[in-house]
Structures are given as C-alpha cells and as structure tokens.
Amino acid sequence: MLAAILSLGCIGLVSAIALGFVAKKFAVEVDPREAAIMEVLPSANCGACGYPGCGGYAKSLVAGKAEPNQCPPGGAELVVKLAHILGVEAVETAPQVAVVLCQGDNKTAVNKYRYLGLEDCNAAQKIADGPKACPGGCLGLGSCQRVCPFDAIEITADGLAVISRDKCTGCRKCVAVCPRQTIRMTPLAASVHVMCNSRDKGALVRKYCQIGCIGCHICEKAAPQAYKIEGFLAEVVYEEHEEAFEAIEKCPTHCIRDFAEGYPQGSSFQAPGVDDDTPNAA
C-alpha cells in the first residue's frame, strides 16, 4: 500500500518537475496581437490572402509582412478592425465576386460524348478536354461547389454552376479549381457580364451553343466604351461597366446578362430586384 502510493507519487512528482522545467526553458513567446487578430479573422482558412490559413495570415500581419486588406472574405469592415489592432492606416479595396462566365447548360450547349466518370471537373477535363463541345464552357460537375467554403455556389438541375453574388466573398478558391478558367473575378459593382468563355469563331460557337458569344461586335457598337472584343469573344470593360447595360437588349444570342435583373435559368438564387413569387425561371 505504502509502496504503491510512494512510487506512483514519485513518478507523478518527477513528471511534474520535468514538465515545469521544460515549460520554463522552452517557452515560446506569442505576440498578443496575433490572438486578437485570430479573433476577428473569418476563420474560413480559405487561403485567399495567399497564406496557409488564417493563422499564417495573422503571423505575417504581426510580422509586418502582410497588409490588412488582403482578406477578401472579411471585407472593408475587417480591414478597419485589423488596422486598428495593428495600429496602421486602413486602405480600402473594392470588393470582388466570382462569376461563372457561361450559361450553356445541358439544354443549350452540346456535349461531345456522355461522361460517366468521377464527379469532378478536373477528372473530366483530362478525357479529351472534357465532355462539353465548347472549350471554355462550364462542365457542371461541381468541383467549384465542393471547394467553396461559403456555400455560395450551386449546380443547376441542367448542369451549370451559378455563384451567388450575396454569399460570394471573393476568396478565389473556385477560380483556382476550375480547369477551364470559366470563373473570373469581377468587381461587385459591375452586374452586367458577357456570359461566354469561348474565343472560337461565331459559326463554330453556333454549332455547339445556342447562347454563346459569336463575336458580332453589335455590343461594341451599342456601347463602345464598355465592351472590347478579343478573338471572337466580347468582354465587359469593368472600369466602364456603367455603360454596359445599353447593349443587353441588342445582343442577338442573349449572351449578355445583368445579374441585377436575375440569375441564369434554373438557379435558385434571387436577384435583389426580383420578388420571391416571380422566380426567374421564365
């Protein structure tokens, strides 16, 4: 009995002394600002700042290697908080959102072959450059949806990725995972986009997609400031996006969409100007 108590007590005591000694000897100093920063960061660990997770960003901030405006999910509010903790001046950045520049779902765009493989866009892209005949169109297998930390992406029943402008924080994870560069970062203020990512000639585009850009220059004529044509693909010049809506009605393939008026067909997301009882499934 006595031996048991004494020997176990001794083991415990030796361990305690060793632990206490090591805790003093090997103490790691942590900057209290780092903990304060971790409190206010979104903790999504999305990596949009360019550092491995929120912890990495917090460390770099404290070390003075990073700027407080590098966290897109946090928005302008976070920049002010971080600047306050760090004691530096806040620099505003224009918020950005990701947009899928394609509306060719299974009804409107042609597939080269029937894909039955893994449910992953990057896997599909490796087989003859993907099932979709269009080289830049959305494959709709949901790789971006799975990688999105904010639940901002949905895949419609017809196989098209749509990103919510309300939920998207601009972390760029989907941009990185998309094998066809169909997803782009655009300013949140610009709601008008050319919903096509194919630079092929108009005649070819017409063969595989009913609503692709055919490079007809009509939008450029309607609003010369707001559009530029590269290859056979029109793009909105986002610095001049206010003018862009003038060409929406004129586009012969209805390829230009104003997200303030509604999301692509089949999406459950609601545009701010649209009532709940009139869904945009026209």
């Binding site: 031996a3 048991a4 020997s7 176990l8 083991i11 415990g12 361990s15 305690a16 060793a18 632990l19 090591v22 805790a23 090997f26 103490a27 790691v28 893994l118 449910e119 992953d120 896997a123």
Partner: protein, 193 residues
C-alpha cells in the same frame, strides 16, 4: 536478428494494430480524410510509440516489479505517457516550429490513445527484452501508419464517387475499413504467434 525481423513483420502486417487488433480506431476513422494528415498522424504515433515503449519498459522493470505493484500498471503507464507527450510537444514547439506545425495538432490526440497504451501493455505481456520491445514498437507504428495512409487513399477516391445517399459519410468509411481489414486477414499465418 531473425527474431527481431519476425517481430517487425508480424507487427506491421500479420497483427496490424488497427486492422487485426482493432486498436487506435478513433484516429483511424477521425484523421483519415486526407493522405497528408494521415501521414502526419502516422509520424506522430510512430514517434510517441517508440519513446513511450522505452519509458514504460523502464517503469515496469525498475519501479513496478521491484515494489511489487504490477496491478497499478495501467494507471502508471497512462501517467507516464501523458506526461511524456506533453513534454515532447513543448520541446518540439520550441526546437522545430516546422515539425510542430505538421505534428503539433496530432500530438495531444495521442496522449491517451489506446494503441499507444495497448502497445506498452502488450510489450510487457509478451515478455519482450528492451531491444525486442523497441522493434515491436516501430513495427506496430509502421503498421498503424500503413493502415492510415491506405485508408486515407481509399477515402480520397471515395470522395469523388457517386456513393448512394444512405451510405455517405461514416457508413461507407466503416464498410471500407471492414474490407481493408478483411484484406489484411490474408497475411494471417505468414508468421506464427
């Protein structure tokens, strides 16, 4: 020398800690979503198992047996292992922040892991000498790491497959673990004992 080799092979394949003895199932299911983290956990377990074997062997033969208190084995071993893991964690954090980044999260998880305690107790039950015990620990940890990495690889593939709704998540993970265990049964009889 041959004896040591037999102990090693037996611990890795035939009596695999996870797939044949069913010890350490919680990290096996919990930290096996990615090969990277599974490997990190495996490394941490390897490290802790080897060091824990050394310490518990000394505790058994220099404290418990001389004082005639073998019945306190479990509690003494848990005490020693827990203190040891904490100690190692602190030292690693200071000495090698990079290693701490990769092992750090897993170390506290191992503190009272049944695989580590099981190994220490088995070592004593089997009457292994000091060297045999260390080899057994390395083999057991190697087997654990192997099982973790194999299982994580399978789960990474499963993520991309169209699994029926009712099987998704833990259900399919447990089915897969069972199949992997069955596959390891093929090694039974390779080494006697």
């Amino acid at each position: 020398m041959v004896d040591l080799f037999v102990i090693l092979v037996s611990a890795i394949f035939v009596n695999n800690f996870v797939l044949a003895r069913f010890l350490g199932i919680c990290p096996f299911l919990g930290v096996s979503k990615k090969v990277e983290t599974a490997l990190g956990m495996g490394m941490a377990v390897t490290f802790v198992m080897t060091v824990a074997t050394v310490v518990t062997w000394f505790v058994q033969y220099f404290v418990l047996i001389p004082f005639g208190i073998e019945y306190l084995q479990t509690i003494a071993f848990i005490l020693v292992i827990a203190a040891l893991v904490q100690l190692v964690e602190m030292v690693v954090q200071k000495v090698s922040p990079v290693l701490y980044q990769s092992l750090g999260i897993f170390l506290p998880l191992i503190t009272t892991n049944c695989a580590v305690l099981g190994l220490a107790v088995l070592n004593i039950q089997k009457d292994y000498t000091f060297l045999e015990g260390v080899v057994f620990a390395i083999g057991a940890a190697g087997g654990f790491t192997l099982a973790m990495v194999l299982f994580a690889g399978l789960r990474e593939r499963l993520e991309l497959c169209a699994v029926p709704q009712s099987f998704r998540g833990t259900a399919i993970a447990l089915v897969t673990a069972g199949l992997l265990s069955l596959a390891f049964m093929g090694f039974a009889g390779l080494v006697k004992g």
